[in-house]
Symmetry: C2
Subunit: 559 residues, 2 copies
């Protein structure tokens, strides 16, 4: 095999060489048709050239048109929910970023058989005219993807995908009405998506009147099914106001009186802040990319400015462990050197990322929300201190409502939320459900079969807030099971469980007392009569005796 060396000489890695060595002995002549494999002409169909001619780019819109179930548009019922959800996410995010207490309108209008027009309207800051086409007519476009910040939207796909679904199923464009200030005119747009280009097509763009000083309204006509019950849009709206006590939502459904959910919180939640990635969470390839893109002139500065919790001291320590100079030019580093850096990071003690960037609902509001919406006998809420997974801060909150009108013989209702957004599908795949199943609810006074949700008149509310929620799919229906996350959820659940337990026990004690008392009330009079006969007491004497007995027994019971 004389040729090999020439290769070895050329290729830095040994891989190809070893490989070729094997590849030579690798093609045993097939049993029945000696070396047909070496005759591509054997059955002439295509060759490299003819195949090359067919290679072409696929637009992300084409891709998600064919695979729309990935975005939550599997079927007409789920499509309705997903579209509304995406629009509401954007409205709430926009209001909060602008510091506006959100007032939303969610409308579902039936316009034909299995055909609806949804509308979501907000009092947010509005969208500048030039941005409207891309935001609603282009997939993978937005302001949120590149930021580490607690927000509902992450991908820059949702609302344009909803519009695309409407277009695919009805041929109708998305309609947007937006206004950015009292002194500015409102703009009315009709936008379609050119799926082959993944680009917006503006069908209408005109100034119009709107009595809102600022805000945005989106309308999408789509093939859909509107149903009540579990996983319905109704469910979604109710859970949304529960997780967003600062928002007022007016909800309009076909053939019903509009419902208005008033806010229970006076102020906006604490603003969530954008943070930089933490060194412990970065991957080698990402690190290489970051050092290629950095504006810093030397490694020390790059590490300090592009990461959170890295001081000059920490930066220099990392360089020292990696055996690199803090003054090295980041762009000049070989991937080998960056790898040294990468392996050095975990060896250096770095403060956990800042957690003030998160904006939990808070125990008080959470409990109050449950009381207002569920009307239970007992409600409690637990907000855990923030924690970290893969360098991303996150925080777990649990609310628990018990008794009242809730059904006692069924599994408890589990409400899951991520950054205040209700998650209604794929419960079994979700870290929240998994954590809830592993808690021993019996010890907190609920029945529970092994590996199942407990039985009892309770609603369980679990919220994860994070700068980057690790969802198991783009449709954002379930949270991935990072051990740190599962652990925090369990701790919160157990705390809430303990409180429930003591409530249930107290109630049981009181009930027992009641029973004992009732016995006393019941039997003492008879004893009185008996004594009367035995001792020949007067009625007066008997009555006083009965009273004394009662008092004594009461006292002894209390002790």
């Amino acid at each position: 095999m004389p040729k090999k060396p020439t290769i070895v000489a050329r290729s830095a890695q040994p891989g190809l060489f070893e490989a070729r060595a094997e590849s030579i002995v690798a093609a045993p002549a097939p049993k029945r048709q000696p070396k047909s494999a070496e005759r591509p002409t054997a059955i002439k169909r295509e060759d490299a050239k003819s195949m090359a001619a067919r290679q072409r780019e696929i637009s992300i819109s084409e891709f998600f048109t064919k695979n729309r179930h990935l975005l939550g548009f599997d079927n007409p019922q789920k499509a309705l929910l997903t579209a509304i959800k995406e629009a509401v996410d954007n409205s709430l995010d926009a209001c909060e970023e602008a510091g506006i207490v959100p007032e939303l309108i969610v409308e579902i209008h039936e316009v034909g058989e299995e055909r609806f027009r949804i509308a979501v309207e907000d009092n947010g800051p509005g969208i500048v005219r030039q941005q409207i086409p891309k935001i609603f007519g282009k997939l993978l476009y937005g302001s949120k993807f590149h930021r580490l910040k607690q927000q509902r939207g992450q991908q820059g796909i949702g609302i344009s995908a909803a519009g695309m679904y409407g277009q695919i199923t009805t041929g109708r464009p998305v309609r947007i009405l937006s206004r950015i200030g009292a002194k500015k005119p409102a703009h009315l747009f009709e936008i379609a998506i050119d799926t082959q280009k993944n680009a917006p097509v503006v069908l209408k763009d005109e100034e119009t009147e709107w009595d809102r000083p600022h805000g945005t309204r989106v309308e999408i006509e789509m093939e859909a099914i509107y149903k009540k019950g579990r996983r319905s849009v109704d469910d979604y709206v109710e859970q949304t106001v529960l997780a967003n006590p600062h928002a007022t939502v007016r909800y309009v459904t076909p053939k019903e009186e509009p419902r208005v959910f008033e806010r229970v919180a006076a102020e906006l939640p604490r603003e969530s802040l954008e943070i930089k990635p933490h060194p412990y969470g970065v991957e080698l390839g990402i690190l290489i990319q970051m050092l290629k893109d950095t504006h810093a002139r030397n490694l020390r500065t790059a590490l300090r400015t592009d990461f959170s919790r890295v001081s000059d001291g920490v930066a220099e320590e990392i360089c020292r462990v990696a055996g690199l100079s803090p003054d090295a030019r980041p762009h000049r580093l070989t991937s080998g050197q960056v790898e040294l850096l990468f392996h050095a990071i975990p060896k250096v003690k770095i403060m956990a990322p800042p957690t003030a960037c998160l904006s939990p609902i808070g125990e008080d509001l959470l409990a109050r929300g449950l009381e207002t919406r569920v009307k239970p006998e007992f409600a409690t809420a637990v907000t855990r201190p923030p924690s970290v997974y893969r360098g991303n801060p996150f925080q777990i909150e649990v609310g628990l409502a018990y008794g009242g009108g809730l059904p006692g013989e069924e599994p408890i209702e589990l409400y899951r939320f991520a950054n205040r957004v209700p998650l209604q599908y794929q419960q079994s795949a979700c870290a929240i459900a998994k954590a809830a199943l592993t808690v021993d609810w019996k010890s907190y006074g609920l029945q529970q079969a092994r590996g199942a949700l407990p039985i009892g008149p309770a609603v369980l509310f679990v919220h994860i807030a994070s700068v980057w929620v690790p969802f198991t799919s783009e449709s954002k229906e379930a949270v991935a099971s990072y051990p740190e996350i599962v652990k925090e959820i369990r701790l919160a659940l157990m705390e809430a469980g303990r409180r429930l337990g003591s409530f249930v026990r107290r109630r049981r004690r009181v009930a027992d007392e009641e029973k004992k008392r009732s016995y006393i009330e019941k039997y003492i009079p008879h004893i009185g009569d008996a004594l009367k006969q035995i001792l020949g007491l007067t009625d007066a004497r008997r009555n006083s005796t009965v009273e004394d007995l009662k008092a004594i027994l009461e006292r002894s019971r209390k002790i």
Copy 2:
């Protein structure tokens, strides 16, 4: 409300008007803070302009870098499998398109702790030099996405995503060696992905020597874990040769002797053919798009040339029902008119799509494959006639192997395949598993708990071949449950089940016979001795009597 009419006048749809009517009464003054909602300055944070400044495009590579679990790169173990799978899919597709009997090499080299270099090499047609960078360095690029054809790849994401994962976790580029003919030189490439641009970066591009006349070899270094057992790469390779009896695979794993799986089939499977979409499967939005893009000058021709099974007659019938002229210019149709067309289609009888485009494995090869690989006592295979879901032809095959070395007290092994590719994850979400659970296996001689897989020494092999397999996620792990598909799977399973049933029953009968006979052999002699004493027979007489008795009883038993 004087302004409304001005709007109504402008907007074609009533929606916006109704909406505004509601929006006016829609903002009830919040309880605790009168019309703070109307004061965006209340808590000044961001406004439309500052938000607009942050809006930007997100590249598909950035998107899948953050969401790589969507592509099957959730964890190091699965990543190894997914990468190999994507490469093997491409190799087999290329060989078959070129009419080459595939000979593959799959290598896993351990190059460090949790770090491997995988290599997949084929004797396919090779890739023309100019295409190599895009095919391996750009997501959503390929020749398969836009074709309705039974093939393994669909998306144009797989292999470039695998390369991207390698790059993210190790910083190493993908290495490609390819040659398109004996007279052409081989080309050696090293390619990285610029994730922000979703574009290839060519680090090396040189001519080199290769003793293969044609073929392609891909090498990816990645963070990974190599494990044995269920869902392992070993499993995958074994199932792959089972579903591709025409392929020879040489499999090289760390610290083991290479294994060679010889092909059991002499020829390539029947070539699968590309077809046009069937009218019954098209959606309104897609129809609108198609008529916009068509090259046909009139509606009649457009319908005939762009769809399958549409003759001039059928085209004219559709137009008639829709109340449109067959000579209408497709590009001039309003979306309203296309909608009429859309609703007309289901009212017209159209022949089912051609099914010769599919390429099943075939009962003979399937059974032979099972016999060769599993070595059972009994093996059978069922290939159903092709069927259609949403206008897409598909075909179900079932193989069943029973007995032999297979464990008898565990649930049967279920192997799932789509277009000859093994599916190893998300079994419970897969239409194949769902169908298998709903079959009554008791009646076929296997034990089964309600809603569970049957218990018994069996391997069940289910294959769906289709021009478009409806997967539940890009990672292509489970088949979506279209009723037509589930029905066909059940029918195939039940046929195979019946055959198993009669085998099991026959075996049982033979066993019973054996038992009966053994009884006779056992007791007759004693009876003989008894008779001898009672009747005082000679030994000879006793023996003859015993023989007669045996004969009689044998006869009576047989009847």
